[in-house]
């Protein structure tokens, strides 16, 4: 547990209380949230998000064989490492001028769909819902629990929970029915993943140019039988989530302001279509738009682009509050992209990482995370895009773009329609997700379960396509290639919790520059050189507090819900500092429920 530093003097002594949660660990590193809370007005007045861990992948990737990139970058993350391998394969394919054979592409898509099913389920039901379970709500909002006891579940006929309080009890860690069922489902979905990518979470059968998975009939039927087994759970989960979140809005009027920020969303697209993708940069606009999750950027509810080339060229890595020295005076690696467009010195292709470890100072520099921003050439703004935890941005962009059209998922009329077939106990179900009015905690969490349904439905489509190809006798899964001496590549994918890009420069057959940009730098970035706060900070700052506890027994559950809605992974510790030198140290494991805090 990190020692909590005293922040600068509060502006209004006696009213503003400093509160810090550090670390809120996530698998990729350490995250700390430092806030000032005005208990008189029940509002967060200031928030800083900080990371105390330096990884250095961009430093030690230099000089390595580019073919190793997928295996090394997989180790960035212990829960979505395969997303990195996949993204690296995409980047390397572009660099080597090759494409995966269609069967390999379907296999990767199936593996990634299983990863989304696994990761979203375990995060939502075993981690996010601890903040909404009976044990936690009893501690933080007893009034809400009393109301939940008296509120019937509108969709009880689907999920079987009579009241909202029954749902909350089912979410209790270790004891609750949903908590335990989710653990079983996450095991099945991991088995599905391993059928396609060999090993979870660092794939053993994913390489540039294809996969080493043997496409046998049983590879796909084993996957299909597991997928059909979890469909009941998925259908119940959507109904249950809708009931719980609808109740939350009713029970706590104004809760839509918790974790709310401008609708500034980025999605880099997922699931390549092998009939279109050739991994050539020159055609990236076309094959990007053919992806089964559409890439795009949404500003204030409007889709401003779905062009991956434009998205790529707009990426800027800003400093300002990060422990790094600037690289603007270095020689750029890539001055023009393969289409002849100029590439900015702040683009990942040209970035050089110069770490400068130093003391944390919230007035100056306070985080190891840099500040990725997207340059909006219409306005000249550097937009602090967030991913909405992943699903929110994916569904938002796909719905507005209206480009996805498959038998199980279609995007049209500004909405995404998901059709799940009949499963063991429940009939066929059609779901519809359309962009909500807010980008807030509840809607980020709600989108997660809808994307589980999306991934399950898409997996059915991929299975049908793969099995049709297999029945025709096509079993080719890999492509030969040579590593050029000089080349560049970029890969765009969706890690489970949002945008993921890998940018690679090869010189003398070795990596000269490699920059993976996963979702957490986007979401957890500190204030940039323009003073723009990162999305966590932006979402938490000025949000209202609904917890009924005062400063002495404050759990910060609303702040935690807001931060966790972005899916920053596993929270394991809380270290609170209450102003005027009094330190309340709570060794707190939310997995055990609030009563064990």
């Amino acid at each position: 547990m990190t020692a909590t530093e005293q922040m600068r003097a509060a502006e209004k002594p006696g009213q503003i209380v400093e509160m810090a949660w550090d670390p809120i660990t996530r698998i990729i590193g350490n995250l700390g949230i430092y806030t000032k809370i005005d208990f008189a007005n029940r509002r967060v007045t200031e928030c800083h998000s900080t990371s105390s861990l330096f990884r250095g992948y961009s430093v030690f990737m230099k000089g390595k064989d580019p073919r190793d990139a997928g295996f090394i970058t997989s180790r960035i993350c212990g829960i979505c490492g395969d997303n990195h391998t996949t993204c690296s394969v995409y980047a390397q394919n572009m660099a080597y001028g090759i494409a995966n054979p269609p069967m390999a592409e379907w296999i990767i898509n199936l593996g990634e769909a299983a990863e989304y099913l696994f990761d979203h389920t375990i995060f939502q039901d075993n981690l996010v819902f601890v903040d909404f379970c009976e044990a936690m709500v009893k501690e933080t909002n007893p009034g809400v629990l009393a109301r939940a006891e008296a509120t019937a579940s509108p969709r009880a006929e689907v999920h079987g929970m009579r009241t909202i309080a029954d749902i909350m009890r089912a979410l209790n860690p270790f004891e609750g029915q949903i908590y335990n069922e989710a653990l079983r489902v996450s095991r099945i979905t991991r088995e599905m993943f391993c059928l396609m990518e060999g090993r979870h979470v660092h794939p053993s059968t994913l390489y540039p140019g294809g996969v080493g998975t043997m496409p046998e009939p049983t590879t796909f039927t084993d996957y299909l039988s597991r997928l059909m087994e979890i469909l009941d759970f998925v259908k119940k989960a959507v109904a249950l989530n809708d009931d719980l979140f609808d109740f939350w809005y009713d029970a706590l009027p104004g809760y839509e302001e918790v974790g709310r920020r401008r609708v500034l969303l980025g999605c880099w697209g997922a699931f390549q279509d092998p009939n279109v993708v050739d991994y050539r940069y020159e055609n990236m606009t076309d094959w990007g738009r053919a992806m089964f999750v559409t890439p795009g950027i949404v500003v204030d509810g409007k889709l401003i682009t779905t062009d991956l080339v434009k998205i790529n060229l707009g990426i800027r890595i800003l400093l300002g509050s990060s422990f790094y020295r600037d690289w603007v005076n270095e020689e750029p690696f890539v001055e023009r992209d393969p289409l002849g467009n100029p590439v900015d010195i702040r683009h990942p292709w040209n970035q050089t990482t110069f770490p400068e470890p130093q003391k944390r100072d919230f007035g100056e520099r306070y985080s190891w995370v840099m500040s990725p921003r997207w340059f909006d050439e219409r306005t000249g703004d550097h937009l602090a895009l967030d991913t909405g935890g992943g699903p929110f941005a994916r569904l938002y962009v796909t719905a507005l773009a209206g480009l996805v059209d498959t038998p199980y998922v279609t995007a049209s009329d500004g909405a995404v329609k998901i059709s799940l077939p009949r499963s063991r106990t429940l009939p066929a179900l059609d779901l519809r997700w359309s962009p909500p009015a807010w980008s807030n905690t509840i809607e980020r969490d709600r989108a997660r379960v809808y994307f589980v349904a999306y991934a399950a439905a898409m997996a059915l489509h991929f299975l049908e396509r793969a099995m049709t190809r297999l029945r025709s006798g096509d079993t080719r899964t890999f492509t030969d290639f040579e590593v050029p001496d000089e080349t560049i590549g970029c890969g765009f994918h969706e890690a489970v919790r949002g945008v993921l890009s890998h940018h690679m420069v090869v010189r003398d057959g070795k990596i000269a520059n490699y920059h993976p940009y996963p979702p957490t730098p986007w979401n957890g970035s500190p204030r940039d050189s323009f003073g723009t706060p990162g999305p966590y900070e932006d979402a938490v700052q000025n949000m209202p507090i609904f917890e009924e506890n005062g400063p002495d027994s404050f759990k910060g559950v609303d702040v935690m819900r807001a931060v966790r809605s972005f899916d920053p992974c596993l929270p394991c510790g809380v270290h609170m500092y209450l102003g005027r030198g009094r330190t309340l140290r709570t060794v707190h494991s939310p997995m055990f429920g609030a009563s064990h805090g």
């Binding site: 770490p355 400068e356 297999l470 079993t475």
Partner: protein, 69 residues
């Protein structure tokens, strides 16, 4: 490189990658070298076994040659 004091490296950065003289799996022509793999993406029983593979091919040419799993 970053101005951080570090020790002498024990290995070259690309040591994991390739041993000179060993054939690389990704080298051009590797697919054609694999037994039982056809250039059109199909395969025959030789892909799965070296023991009398022709006896294990489908009895009709119109049937797909699927791996045994």
């Amino acid at each position: 490189m970053a101005p951080i004091r570090v020790g002498e490296p024990d290995v070259r950065p690309d040591a994991t990658a390739h041993v000179s003289g060993v054939r690389e799996g990704n080298a051009l022509g590797s697919y054609e070298m694999e037994p039982g793999h056809h250039i059109d993406g199909t395969a025959d029983a030789r892909r799965s076994t070296g023991i009398r593979p022709r006896d294990r091919n489908p009895i009709s040419p119109s049937m797909p040659n699927l791996p045994p799993g």
